[in-house]
């Protein structure tokens, strides 16, 4: 399946990209995708424990199963306001 990944803030710097598509085996989880992202962008490893993920605008845990066409946000720690 194909999922779209969006990078924000420090994650965007680490990936040097605003977003890209990953092709994953069926029944992959968000955690599996996270490992793929770190493989593709070693600079991402340093922040992988502090990052959270969204799927289709919902914050999710890494156990969450992915589906075809899901949009995944890679969200570093926030400091809004």
């Amino acid at each position: 399946m194909r999922v779209k990944v969006l990078y924000f803030a420090a994650a965007r710097d680490a990936a040097d990209s605003r977003g890209e598509t990953f092709v994953l085996p069926d029944r992959s989880s968000v955690g599996d995708l996270s490992a793929e992202i770190c493989r593709a962008h070693p600079a991402m490893k340093a922040m992988s424990r502090s990052v959270r993920f969204s799927v289709n605008l919902e914050l999710v845990e890494t156990a969450r199963a992915l589906r075809e066409s899901d949009v995944v946000g890679v969200l570093p720690p926030v400091a809004g306001g």
Binding site: A10, L57, P76, P77, V78, G80, G81
Partner: protein, 155 residues
């Protein structure tokens, strides 16, 4: 001094909730929560400070996951309404480049009695700070830039 007064009540059905690149006008945010049955309105404005950890700040740049942040704002309003009796709730967060003194975030809550408005406004801004997918890049005088260390995003 009061001569520049303008109508700040416009009778919208609900408070503004938005992520915007344009400057935030506090009067418009207030107008959006006006309600004839409200006796109290509390507004919080976050502004860009000229110093951060002892260093002179030139400006900030905000990155945002806009669609998700607007959805989070709606969730915060629902959560406010479950906890307190409020009339209208407005939340506006700016992104892009901001200068010192500019408003980065505005929250306004109107309610029948002021205790509810104070508590709801405080809760909303605290929640915005921890749960909105929004990131702050600090530009110090001299040119050094870095993402401000934050907390792991929570629901």
């Amino acid at each position: 001094m009061w001569a520049c007064s303008r109508p700040w009540r416009v009778g919208r059905m609900r408070g503004i909730q938005m992520i915007t690149r344009r400057p935030i006008d506090p009067a418009v945010v207030l107008a959006s929560v006006s309600d004839d049955s409200a006796g109290g309105t509390v507004m919080f404005l976050g502004t860009v400070r000229n110093r951060s950890h002892g260093k002179a700040v030139a400006g900030l740049e905000y990155d945002v996951y806009r669609e998700m942040a607007e959805k989070s704002m709606q969730a915060i309003e629902q959560s406010v309404r479950k906890r307190w009796r409020v009339k209208k709730v407005a939340m506006v967060h700016r992104y892009g480049a901001l200068k010192v003194g500019e408003v980065s975030v505005a929250v306004a809550v109107s309610s029948e009695h002021r205790a509810d408005a104070f508590r709801a406004c405080r809760y909303a801004i605290d929640t915005i700070k921890g749960s909105l997918p929004l990131w702050k890049r600090e530009r110090l005088e001299g040119g050094v830039e870095s993402w401000v260390k934050g907390t792991r995003i929570r629901r």
